[in-house]
């Protein structure tokens, strides 16, 4: 490398694609990125976030010292000793007084598998609580719940490598080119090789502009169009009935429902012209290899799990599953949301999707952890605010999350957090959540720590330390281990590879993986033994991971979203992200080029609606729902259809989740973030 510089290969910190690249290090600072041509996913390609990823690491706002809130209500710098003693002492006190169920723990999809594993052990063994959750609740809880029931495994069925061989690609509820740019790149390659692209999305996203068919449905009507596809496919004899007979159960019950969804019915519910629906259904069904990709547009609904069932039904009806370049592929948002889910940073599970009520499993964990994990099922993060309000939860320990901004109905969660007896937040930047914390602990950021991430196609890949952390920031796993030690539970980890070995020994899906094996290239789980090559696609030959080995059809019906536009609130509000920003913006808004691309909040509105309201691009508008109002600049664009407005949740200045509705999917407990009803007003400037 150039004199005075080093290169460190690592995995990208933003999305779940799992690109790898080299960080350039000069004088203990990150100064740039060099792409890796040999990496199987990125192949020398990166999105702007990846290219400029390093810039947030050295931002002066980084948390540098442990802090405890003093009697005046201010955070005051203390020593690590003092902070750790205090945290351990308070947690023990609360546990003694109210029991372990009074403590909830949030993990993070931005942290490594190792960090999350130590957190999970801390929660379930040291504290003894099952209230463990992380932000996957807000994105793919419905995927995990849905696909686990349909197929027996709640992850992407196929791998990114296989995309280029697909004949048809169906994208729904994923703005792939902005949210998973390098996955979109693999799709572009498939298109160049002759594949057809179907996009079903209420917005005319960039992928829709190059699609062969774009179906624009009303927000919240996904089940209707998917059932419509199935209806056309079965009625036209395009279904793979051999596959259905040999590898699935429940087709009849499903068909009882789906047969009602004729193209006419679907058109009236979704607004999709029936000719287009039929054309798209035929295209999907008649391909040899067809892949479905989806993301938050499917999952962040009250019907999120049902939407996922519907997609699974569609893939099974056509036999597009269990073969290369097919399947139902949820695109996981966060870099390590797959890993955090694998490690059971969710209630009611143990690492590796193991059942905490299974005595065999309990014994296995008890042998390593010294105690048996709780057998009860804890709260989802979206239920925690209610649990705090009714006094069940007294203390919350958060590692690397900002629930005060990312969760729906912000007011409610703020109120709850104010009521907490004890809140510990471990993070790299001050956030809206640290404002409520009693103790703030500075953690090392990506680029400063070793570990692994598991990307959206289940590939376990190395993350490497390139520079030293600022001041007194410490690795997340170290912090938790130190707290645990003070609570009388010593894990004895000295470095992340030890942690990995322990967790792999407990998780059959990871058990063949070790740092040595993934030094050069990641391995997709399941990888049950050291000589197993890993599993690029699941359910080979139609063998599902369900108890009877068969895929399950679930009949699902369209129901209206909990809130529909009416006279008072005539617009659909749908929320999402833009390509250059990340979630609550605490990292991306500290990166110059990302911030410069989209420096301020905006609301997309269709040209015709804009004309009626007398709004032009750049005008300030106020968006109000039954729960509150935010102001932002209008962006007039045909990306959204009439009657729909779109905004993002990146900006503190316009916290859009003030407006969304706190109604949860009853199965996955994921909030409805994609549909709410709003009214738009132009803000008149006093001249």
């Amino acid at each position: 490398m150039l004199p005075g510089e080093r290169l460190v290969l690592t995995t990208c910190v933003w999305c779940g694609t799992g690109c790898q690249f080299y960080l350039r290090v000069r004088d203990n600072r990150l100064v740039g990125v060099v792409p890796s041509r040999s990496h199987p996913i990125s192949r020398g390609r990166l999105c702007l976030k990846g290219w400029k990823s390093f810039q947030f690491v050295h931002h002066p706002d980084r948390l540098k010292y442990p802090m405890i809130r003093n009697s005046k209500g201010q955070l005051e710098r203390v020593s690590w000793e003092e902070a750790l003693d205090y945290v351990a002492g308070r947690l023990m006190e609360i546990k003694r007084k109210y029991g372990p169920e009074a403590i909830a723990v949030f993990g993070s999809a931005k942290c490594t598998n190792e960090d999350n594993y130590v957190l999970v052990r801390f929660a379930r063994a040291t504290i003894g609580t099952d209230h463990v959750d992380h932000c996957a609740r807000l994105c793919h809880a419905s995927t995990v719940a849905g696909l686990a029931r349909s197929f027996g495994s709640g992850a992407m069925t196929n791998s990114i490598d296989e995309i280029e061989d697909a004949e048809v690609i169906l994208i729904t509820g994923s703005n792939t080119s902005e949210q998973h740019p390098v996955i979109a790149s693999h799709m572009m390659r498939a298109l160049n090789r002759g594949a057809r692209l179907i996009v079903v999305d209420p917005r005319r996203i960039p992928m829709a502009r190059i699609a062969h068919i774009h179906l624009s449905h009303r927000p919240g009507t996904d089940i209707a169009w998917i059932n419509g596809f199935i209806n056309v496919i079965v009625n036209e004899g395009l279904a793979d009935m051999d596959f259905v007979r040999n590898h699935t159960t429940g087709f009849e019950e499903m068909w009882e429902v789906a047969k009602e969804y004729t193209p006419d019915v679907v058109e009236s519910i979704t607004g999709i012209p029936k000719e287009d629906l039929i054309r798209a259904a035929r295209m999907y069904a008649s391909a040899e290899k067809a892949m479905i990709f989806y993301a938050m547009g499917i999952t962040q609904h009250v019907t999120g799990t049902h939407n996922v069932f519907a997609l699974a039904n569609l893939a099974m009806v056509t036999g597009h599953i269990g073969k290369p370049s097919t399947g139902v592929n949820p695109l996981r948002g966060q870099n390590n949301v797959q890993g955090a889910s694998d490690l059971a940073v969710v209630p009611g599970k143990l690492p590796g999707y193991q059942d905490p009520t299974d005595p065999e499993v309990r014994r296995k964990f008890a042998r390593v952890w010294g105690v048996e994990p709780p057998a009860w099922k804890g709260f989802a993060s979206t239920q925690v605010s209610d649990a705090i309000m009714d006094g069940t939860v007294k203390a919350v320990y958060i590692m690397g999350e900002n629930p005060v901004r990312s969760h729906p109905d912000i007011r409610h969660i703020e109120e709850a957090f104010e009521n907490l007896e004890f809140l510990v937040v471990q993070d790299i930047f001050p956030t809206e959540t640290t404002k409520f914390a009693h103790v703030v602990l500075p953690a090392t950021a990506w680029g400063e720590k070793d570990g692994t991430f598991t990307n959206t196609d289940r590939r376990v890949q190395r993350v490497r330390r390139a520079v030293a952390p600022p001041a007194e920031a410490r690795d997340d796993w170290w912090i938790i281990q130190e707290v645990a030690r003070r609570m009388g539970d010593d894990y004895g980890f000295e470095d992340p590879s030890q942690i990995f070995d322990e967790m792999a020994s407990l998780m059959p899906i990871y058990s063949g993986i070790s740092y040595d094996r993934i030094e050069r290239e990641g391995i997709p789980w399941p990888c049950p033994s050291p000589d197993h090559p890993g599993t690029p696609y699941l359910h080979r030959d139609g063998k599902f991971n369900t108890p009877d080995g068969r895929g399950r059809f679930f009949p699902v019906r369209h129901v209206d979203p909990p809130e529909l536009p009416d006279e008072e609130y005539p617009f659909y509000l749908t929320t999402g992200r833009v390509g250059v920003h990340w979630h609550t913006g605490s990292m991306s808004r500290r990166i110059h080029y990302l911030e410069r691309e989209v420096p301020e909040p905006f609301v997309e509105i269709n040209p015709e609606d804009a004309r009626t309201l007398g709004v032009r691009t750049g005008d300030r508008i106020r968006v109000c729902s039954r729960r509150g109002c935010v102001e932002a600049k209008a962006l007039v664009t045909d990306t959204v259809s009439r009657g729909v407005v779109f905004s993002t949740f990146h900006f503190e200045e316009a916290p859009i989740n003030l407006l969304t509705i706190n109604v949860l999917d009853p199965i996955a407990l994921i909030p409805e973030l994609k549909v709410s009803a709003v009214r738009i007003e132009k803000v008149e400037r006093n001249a």
Partner: protein, 316 residues
Amino acid sequence: MLKRLTWEQVRDVLRNLEGMGYTVLHPAKNEFGDWIPRQGIPERWPEDFPNYLFPFLREIVLPSTEPVFDTADYRPIFHTYGKIAFFGARPCDATALAYTDAFYLERLFRDKHYEKRRKDLFVISVACTRPCENSFCRTMGAGPFAGKGFDIQLYPVEGLWYAEAGSDAARELLRDYPDADAGRLEEWRKKVLERFPLYDRTKLRYPVPSPVRDFLSDRCFSCGGCIWLCPTCTCYNERQPAGLNVVVREQDACLLSGYHRLAKGASLRPTMKEMMGFRYECKLGIGFCTGCGRCSTTCIGYAAMDAYLEKTLGGE
């Protein structure tokens, strides 16, 4: 001057350069299978070296971020990698260096930061024998042999290394080696040239036909990759990074909307189509493209020069 050297003699030249205080960099595959420059004198020439994906040569003279002055006392800050002998530069990159030299040193204002680093750089290019991924260097007149931008250009001819001197320093270094037969080299060059595709250069000109521009714009996702990797992209931005008392200049990319934004959020080129036009004006209109193919390798949307070529030449 054209000389004839054995591989051992090539290594002697590199040793001499080391003796003169240069750090020698040469191509090597790292443990992950990527080509990254390595310090020291190579044992052998890696036949399979295509080119670096990252434009390290540009990086040496024009780092993608560098501090330029101190905000407290306006003291200039000068970042350098020291004296570097860059062995194994590909001809396209040597040509690119000649372009950036002309831009940074031969116009109204000379850039001292660039100039000082350039003076400390000794370039030994090695002629290519096979076209690499996505390249069309021959069409752009930048490969497989460089006409400028090198101190020494080596040709691997029949087990020997023919050495062409491009600077006085190089002539001095090569003086004592036997002369080579220019005719032999010419024959070799002709043979090699035939392996390289040649497109109709007259069609690779600005302006970009409108349908092509639409096609490319629809597929550009503004990652900036084609620019971060372009050996001739030199646009930069200056700013004070948060928390530091220096102004840095860092490479900027004209396919990012922020590049074109004016005060109050107005923009000179509000649409992707206009930004795309702006880029092609520069690369093909002004003529800064060397045909190295990096942009095509890194383009997320498969909408870089290779797509341009295919669309304008219509499969010729």
